[in-house]
Symmetry: C2
Subunit: 405 residues, 2 copies
């Protein structure tokens, strides 16, 4: 019987790809490992390991690192996926900002830059510029193997455009799939931004690395959510699941551009925060002429200095973020909720009130078994997340990146 | 090289089990198929099919059906999973009711019975009786291969008990895993009731058979949800995900026993409906002395006759059920929401108002691509769902049921 026809098996090609991916992921998550260690961890036969690793070494995906201490003190050769040897580009889109980063596979930032500020009128221009800039980066750096992009939700993942929403008005005419997927010498992968942030924490964050039931709760210009349930990203039929910003916390509340009423986003996103600042007699002096992010950051700074009105608004915002956590608890029951983006800069006053809100409203069993933390990723989790989208594909579909026959 | 060591493969045992399961599922969903058809559909080699099907025939899991019309007019032998040849027991638990059904693998009801009515004081007794009754059923019917149980949420799936809640107060001291898992000659599988309902529609309902992005929205004594996302049941870290009954639709609303405020369940479950009936001057005459289910059914009957007050309350209930659909849209983006349990008996007046509510509040792209229907399963979807939990395990883990070496 040839190797190609195994009597217990699925088609050779799909098993081989799945096993290559599992080996890459093992090396990615565990570092230098011997063939025997991989065989044991993945329940693969020594013959399979020998064959697949030879192929991966051959195409340059992994390499031998020389002797390492083996089991029972026998010495054996280590294998390594050199995360510094492959680079990816991450692109984060927002209403008025496109940020580009170059990262290695471990999520280390090699460079980061913002495109010129964008208005609805300059979106076409920005897209043209972005194409050009990505081409330049690809020319400069041969190690780049993939591009990831992060788009604010509701992003229709399977169709390529954002549905609604005010925060991305001008971008609605761009079909990201048509525009970018096949535009460059390397493949492009596109994901909703909070889902990309969840992948970033899963892959790059020492605080949540490899957690199989993880939620990344983005509270910034918009409010978004990415959920990993038992190792699977929750996508929904059109890829429009986990749109927590448009879950209503008050069915009699403020109308939202999405058509719904009382959407969470209307209470704790930075535009909502700035609106409250201005409506309450400019809690932050000069807020009227600040951007949403600037006004929000200024509010946090004032609250830290003890300003009573600023503290009050921070606490109110935190309660709404807590109501969002309650939705996440009941809808997804993750082991860990990571709150990220601008609001994660707010600090303890904020987090304590989020926790108090959740403690007061949840089942003790769930409260006690769910961690809620602020993101501590050094770089913008969405641009890092765009890179994580690319890295995830690199690890899951090696044959897209290497000539593996 | 022996069959046991395939150079492309994972461990023989796990591949073999996975392939057996895929073949059983193929036959379950597609009916009589030739080996060539299965090989093509599952991307398996002919050698693998020959070996695995021989083994499955040998232990009696599947059988040959004689000649069938093959491709290119060659005749070939059909294989069949005879769904009438294996039976399962489904047990549905509720506050005051335990219902037991015997089903075949296709979900056909062979028998159904209710245990005597239950109060908090008689739960211990009920558990003892249930053990005895299941033993009798197992003695009477050799074809029974598994038992499934459906428990109202929030059910801590990985721990075995219900967290909170008023509707199951007396049951909180029962650990279902300890009590039942290893109690009988056949294995027992336990699931939250709405998740079981989702599996019932996935397996048994011609209207939604095999739909990979499916939500079963249980609106009855409680409000629950089961979601299949891309073929995976969404469970959460402790198995307490998709608890939509305790997602708040109004953060300033009615307090709930779970600790949260404004829980959906407080507005459209049958206890909430009965409360409204009574609070509004007994819209249903005699409602005070009726059970929640009786009062709700009487309300629906009155509304159908055109009673204005009854219609008004049905429409109000439908709007809240619609708000719940909006949560499901934004959290899970399923392709199909099936509304089931007592409220599914309400008919068109109700469904039309649910649809109008959702249409008015959702993104058109999502509304247009999501079906919302009332369940048309002939039997109580939760007891049928309990059976579906058992059938799912039968199809996914054949080696639990047959001596497959």
């Amino acid at each position: 019987m040839s190797n190609g026809s195994n009597a217990t098996g699925t088609s050779r090609a799909s098993i081989a790809e799945s096993n290559r991916s599992r080996i890459l992921q093992h090396l990615y998550h565990n570092g230098v490992s011997s063939r025997a260690q991989i065989a044991k961890a993945l329940d693969l036969t020594p013959a399979a390991i020998t064959k697949i690793t030879a192929q991966l070494i051959d195409v340059g995906a992994i390499q031998e690192t020389g002797d390492m201490e083996g089991a029972k003190n026998r010495r054996s050769i280590g294998l390594e996926l050199d995360t510094a040897h492959f680079h990816v580009i991450g692109v984060k889109f927002a209403r008025s900002l496109v940020r580009i980063g170059v990262f290695d596979l471990a999520g280390n930032t090699l460079g980061i830059e913002d495109m010129p500020p964008i208005t609805n009128e300059t979106i076409g221009e920005t897209v043209t510029l972005l194409h050009r800039r990505i081409e330049e980066l690809l020319d400069e750096d041969d190690l780049i193997v993939a591009i990831g992009m992060a788009i604010p939700g509701p992003y229709m993942r399977d169709k390529g455009y954002t549905a609604v929403v005010s925060s991305m008005t001008g971008w609605r005419n761009v079909n990201f799939i048509d525009e970018f997927t096949h535009a460059f010498r390397v493949p492009v992968f596109i994901e909703q931004d909070a889902r990309a942030g969840a992948l970033a924490h899963y892959l790059f964050d020492p605080e949540s690395h490899g957690e199989n039931d993880l939620a990344y709760y983005l509270v910034g210009e918009g409010v978004g959510l990415g959920v990993i349930d038992n190792g699977h990203i929750v996508n929904g039929a059109l890829g429009a699941a986990t749109e927590i910003g448009h879950v209503s916390v008050d069915v009699h509340g403020k109308p939202c551009d999405c058509g719904n009423v009382g959407c969470l986003e209307r209470y704790c996103s930075t535009p909502a925060i700035r609106q409250e600042i201005v409506a309450n007699g400019e809690i932050v002096p000069g807020a009227q002429s600040m951007s949403n992010a600037e006004a929000t950051r200024a509010l946090f700074a004032l609250a830290r200095k003890g300003d009573a009105k600023a503290r009050e608004l921070v606490l109110r915002t935190a309660r709404y973020v807590g109501y969002g956590c309650m939705i996440i608890f009941n809808a997804f029951n993750p082991a860990h909720i990571i709150i990220g983006d601008i609001v994660a800069e707010s600090g303890d006053l904020f987090l304590d009130e989020v926790l108090a809100t959740v403690r007061g409203r949840s089942i003790p069993e769930l409260y006690d078994s769910t961690r809620i933390t602020l993101s501590t990723m050094p770089t913008d989790a969405a641009v890092c997340g765009a890179a994580a989208v690319a890295v995830t594909q690199f690890l899951e579909r090696p044959s897209t990146f290497f000539d593996l026959g």
